[in-house]
Amino acid sequence: MVLARRRADIEWRGTLDEGEGSFTVGDWMLGEVPVTWIERTSRIENSTSPEELMAASHASCYAMALSLVLEQGGTPSERLHVSAACTLDTVNESFKITKVELEVRGKIPNLDDDGLREAAKRAEDICPVSNALRGNVEITVDTILEEE
């Protein structure tokens, strides 16, 4: 059985409120990406957050799962656009990731709205990142079929 491992490194300096970190992902980024607590709860340009990275992971994983389901169903997609929004909330005075909302727009010849909804549901069932979050995080999927 083949195993795949992917690594990301972060270095963090100082306390939560005032500190900052930077991480590197593989060698595809030019330099290090800054990450701060403040970015998680307010917004700093060009600084990311764990929730944004989780959204990126889920969007890319789900897009691959859906492409597979559509291909296996005999209606391969020409184009998929998946947008994921990951929500960090306070629950009982603790921070909690409560939901990921997936929005799918697809150009898929010979498939109707119902067909896309069904495929989207199956893809959510097999998506490894969805399954890593299952039961802990609410996952919703909205689909839009694009004509052209």
Binding site: A4, D9, T15
Partner: protein, 145 residues
């Protein structure tokens, strides 16, 4: 109830094996047009990222923040923390099976035992750990620098 939403988008073209995509960290713009493909998940990443690598990045950064907070609350604010996260995808079951967190810290006034205890406490509060809890095995290795 306070919430913070963060958004990312991916565009995918083609089928799973031969297709490829690009994604944007849409809320911040910290990364745009980064390449992602199925091959990057299972073969040589070749300069592109993958969902598992992004989970590792999310977990490492989330955990570093949680631990910095736990240490500061205990009166031992860290000088620096280094967290490496490894995320494992089992290609047989297509499951994310494990995240291993390797934590090294420079923490004045704290011994190995105290650091280990803080690290375990932080793992319990880390929002990404809790999002994966029960589905993914989370392993923690600590050492003081």
């Amino acid at each position: 109830m306070a919430t913070a939403d963060r958004r990312a988008s991916v565009k995918w073209q083609g089928d799973l094996m031969s297709g490829s995509g690009t994604f944007d960290l849409a809320s911040s713009g910290a990364m745009t047009g980064a390449g992602v493909s199925f091959a990057t998940r299972t073969e040589d990443p070749n300069g592109e990222t993958s969902p598992e690598e992004l989970v590792a990045a999310a977990h490492a950064s989330c955990y570093a923040m949680a631990l910095s907070n736990t240490l500061a609350e205990g009166g031992n604010a860290p000088e620096s923390l280094e967290v490496d996260a490894k995320c494992t995808l089992d290609m047989g079951s297509l499951k994310v099976t494990t995240v291993t967190l390797d934590v090294r810290g420079q923490v004045p006034g704290l011994d190995e035992e105290g650091f280990q205890s803080a690290a375990e406490q932080a793992e319990q509060t880390c929002p990404i750990s809790n999002a994966l809890r029960g589905n993914v095995d989370i392993q923690l290795n600590t050492s003081l620098a």
